[in-house]
């Protein structure tokens, strides 16, 4: 992310709507960032912190009050952020990121330290921001949160891109996806699936059949006269997919007690 913003030196080029960032007169209207929650002077008030960013970015002070209101920090705007909790610091960081109404947001672990209400607020806020035609690029290890928030996902392991696709496609193409089925005669169902060359595993009181569709299983069971007690699509969670994709790329693996 720092490379994308020109903060670190390295190879490669990042372009925003066809132009690198330094070609824009007002970069803060192109990209807003949150790379570190605690990137502020501890005794400078939250309002003054934002006013400095506003002045540097050619943004009016009125906008500072707007963003303080959006992130819910208006009541503590006079205070130095030294005693801010991690969640409050994240909110201040988000306020700084959206100050210039940028077309793109680049956020590193924005949900870190937020309480459940804060996480929901962030999710709704970012979805709304993206729905307005903006791009939101989030780096996170909170996979369940990402599965609720993101449209597209990039999986990186050991510095290499492993996947770059929509979440829907990613979870549906994964080996963990398939059909969950339950019948009154599970023994007969297993024989039927084996005859049809389908792989499956026992899950709860039913079977998870891999790489198939509900129509196919339904027809098979109907033809064989088996009663269907439950039949549903099973999509793998983003976490399951992530672990499967990065199985060979994990740097530090924990052991068992």
């Amino acid at each position: 992310m720092r490379l994308m913003l020109g903060l670190d030196n390295g190879n490669g080029k990042t372009i925003y709507d066809g132009k690198p960032l330094h070609k824009y007169d007002k970069p803060s209207s192109v990209v807003g960032i949150l790379l570190e929650a605690k990137a502020f002077h501890p005794t400078r008030s939250a309002r003054n912190h934002l006013k400095i960013l506003a002045a540097s970015g050619g943004i009016s002070d009125k906008r500072v009050e707007e963003v303080l209101d959006i992130v819910g920090l208006k009541d503590v705007a006079k205070k130095g952020p030294r005693k801010f909790s991690l969640g409050m610091s994240q909110r201040l960081g988000i306020a700084a990121a959206i100050l210039g109404k940028p077309k793109y947001l680049i956020l590193d672990e924005p949900a870190n330290g937020l309480d459940p209400e804060g996480i929901k607020w962030l999710r709704d806020f970012l979805k709304d921001y993206a729905d307005r035609g903006n791009g939101v690029f989030v780096s996170s290890h909170l996979l369940s949160e990402m599965s609720q928030m993101a449209d597209n996902v990039i999986v990186i392991g050991r510095g290499k891109m492993i996947a770059n696709t929509s979440i829907k496609e990613l979870v549906s193409r994964d080996g963990q996806s398939g059909v969950f089925v339950r019948s009154n005669d599970m023994k007969k169902l297993k024989i039927l699936l084996q005859k049809s060359n389908l792989t499956f595993e026992t899950q709860d009181s039913g079977l998870l059949v891999h790489k198939t569709k509900t129509d196919h299983i339904g027809n098979l069971m109907h033809t064989d006269g088996l009663a269907v007690l439950e039949l549903s699509n099973h999509l793998a969670s983003l976490e399951e997919v992530f672990f499967e994709l990065t199985a060979d790329s994990q740097e530090y693996k924990g052991g068992k007690q």
């Binding site: 605690k38 502020f40 002077h41």
Partner: protein, 250 residues
């Protein structure tokens, strides 16, 4: 560029340290100029024996004290940006690093000039109040006001910029303050042993020679010293700029 400079000025005036250091400088001025020099009068002090150079001595000595605080403010100005990583916001707001550095140089120069002169006027005022309370008055003074104003301007701006330069190069508040305090008090006097009279061309000695208040005494003119300081700053900031470009912003 204008927006960047506005942001830089706001940075200076929205932190407590700027005000604390200015107040500390003012308190020391009150103690020295009002109490010791003006009100009590120190035996042996050129100012206290009411010589024709008393006022010049008071101004120069006060400037020496004020400059230290100005330089520390300049060190904190950029040092804190690296310490708290707000430098990344600065470099996103303006992606041209040359302009960012130029805005910082301009901000520190203007701040040093104005703060230095205000505190100098305060120092003179304190001295006169002390004299008044003592019931003493100054004899006619040898003071070319315009010449003194020019020298003070160069001196304060020079100190402010040297603080900024050290901090930009080292990117650490503690290291920069250490170098700033150790170099003029220890390194340059030691360097004067092998360098002899040429030691006056060292950075801090040149700066102090503008007002003729340095440890190393010399006949080198203030104008020459201003040129020497200017050359040091120019070369220093070219190096600082090249490092600013090459280094990662953290």
């Amino acid at each position: 560029m204008k927006a960047t400079m506005k942001g830089e000025f706001r940075k200076l005036f929205t932190v407590r340290s700027t005000y604390i250091l200015i107040i500390l400088a003012a308190l020391l001025i009150v103690l020295v100029n009002f109490y010791f020099e003006g009100y009590r009068g120190i035996t042996g002090s050129p100012a206290s024996i009411l010589s024709p150079d008393a006022l010049k001595e008071i101004i120069n000595n006060s400037a020496g004290l004020i400059a230290i605080f100005i330089a520390i403010i300049a060190i904190l100005f950029i040092g804190h940006e690296y310490r708290y990583n707000t430098i990344m916001y600065t470099l996103i707001s303006n992606t041209h690093r040359a302009r960012v550095l130029l805005a910082k140089v301009f901000t520190v120069a203007v701040f040093s000039f104005i703060t230095g002169l205000i505190l100098t006027l305060f120092a003179i005022g304190c001295y006169f109040v002390g004299l008044e309370l003592r019931g003493a008055s100054l004899p006619p003074q040898n003071l070319d006001e315009l010449y003194q104003f020019g020298k003070l301007t160069a001196y304060f701006v020079g100190y402010g910029l040297i603080g900024l330069l050290i901090s930009t190069l080292l990117r650490s508040v503690i290291a920069a303050i250490a170098v700033f305090l150790i170099a003029p008090a220890t390194i340059e006097p030691l360097a004067s042993i092998p360098l002899k009279e040429n030691a006056v061309y060292l950075p801090f000695s040149s700066l102090d020679n503008i007002l003729n208040i340095g440890i190393i005494k010399s006949d080198v003119s203030p104008a020459t010293s201003i040129l020497v300081v200017g050359a040091y700053l120019l070369v220093g900031f070219v190096i600082a700029y090249l490092l600013f470009l090459r280094r990662d912003a953290n």
